[in-house]
């Protein structure tokens, strides 16, 4: 029985690119949905991703491997920050980091049912935005990501129309700052 961390590495290592639609649900503490958003995510590991949220929560988050751009078209505002460990607590970046980086920053446990493997990750440091993260793989494909914060508030992200290791154009991970957008550089 391989240990959970190496099994997770086994599943993530061959994942070079990933593209999927996502549904994101923010749950209240009695389980009702507080916010339902949808969009599309592209990953090119290591370090590159694009996370596009559809209206009415329109937002684009792009990492080109060096910097992360968070663009809000409604506010016409772009926040730019360096790609760094603190930011890796965002789900998309977590997935585009190297498997080794992931398993060294997080304690990993696993439970399996049939061809579904669910990995629970808890951050070793205490500065993470969330208290635990669950990654669900079905038939070796990443299909879900759940984030739970300190008070048990849950964000569930489900993926479908998944394409793993397909060809993703590198321009997908470049971000042009739109004319007239308000740019905020964060350290």
């Amino acid at each position: 029985q391989t240990d959970p961390a190496s099994r997770l590495t086994e599943l993530l290592e061959p994942l070079h690119t990933y593209s999927a639609d996502f549904q994101q649900r923010v749950q209240g503490d009695d389980g009702q949905s507080l916010q339902d958003a949808s969009g599309h995510m592209w990953l090119a590991r290591p370090g590159k991703f694009r996370w596009e949220v559809n209206a009415p929560y329109s937002q684009t988050v792009v990492s080109d491997g060096a910097q992360v751009y968070m663009y809000d078209p409604d506010l016409e505002q772009v926040t730019v920050r360096d790609l760094d460990p603190k930011v890796t607590s965002t789900p998309a970046l977590l997935l585009s980091g190297s498997a080794g980086e992931l398993t060294s920053n997080y304690g990993v446990s696993m439970r399996a049912q049939g061809d579904t493997e669910i990995f629970s990750l808890s951050p070793r440091g205490n500065d993470s935005l969330f208290e635990s993260l669950e990654m669900t793989f079905q038939g070796q494909r990443l299909t879900g990501l759940d984030l739970v914060d300190a008070t048990g508030q849950r964000t569930e992200i489900g993926f479908d129309s998944i394409e793993q290791n397909g060809s993703v154009d590198d321009s997908r991970f470049a971000f042009q700052i739109p004319e007239g957008a308000d740019v905020i550089r964060e350290q």
């Binding site: 503490d29 916010q35 949220v53 937002q59 809000d72 008070t151």
Partner: protein, 185 residues
Amino acid sequence: CASQPPSPEVDRAQGDWEHQLGRIEALDRWTLTGKIGLRSPQQSRSANLDWVQQDTGYRMLITGPFGVGRNVLTGEQGGITLENGDGRFSAATPEDLMEQRMGWSLPISSLDHWVRGLPDPRSPSQVKIDAQGFPQAITQDGWNIEYRQWSYAAGYWLPGRLRMSYGDLIATLVVTQWQPNQTGS
């Protein structure tokens, strides 16, 4: 449900505002989705806003990207509470609660009027009117609220973009989806 910014064939016309004023003043139930942007020399923030209003009670979900780092502000007869990753807190006013727990705040107590294009009746204000007779700006309690865009939703003209400034602080509220008279999510 709600349409986004004014649909092409429907534009604001002279008299539309006076015609709907009674209904806007009576509107006390809605669901709205939007963005909050905050710029001041000390800080800048942006967040998603999901606001459900029912009579005088409200629930505002303020979240960062990925729904992480969320704050749920609830106002009811009994009092005002804020719940986030650190726990559950209460204070006399929503403004204090936000400052204490989030490090920034919005004039929540007046926002339920400003977001409908109305001044808060509890303190003096000046209202400037635009060419179509709609509120262009409200000055009140040191705030200057400019109505930059209007949306047409379920028979109401409602503000789509508010630029609220107070000294060197600029707060932008963009309402991306208005659902008047609806509170079921």
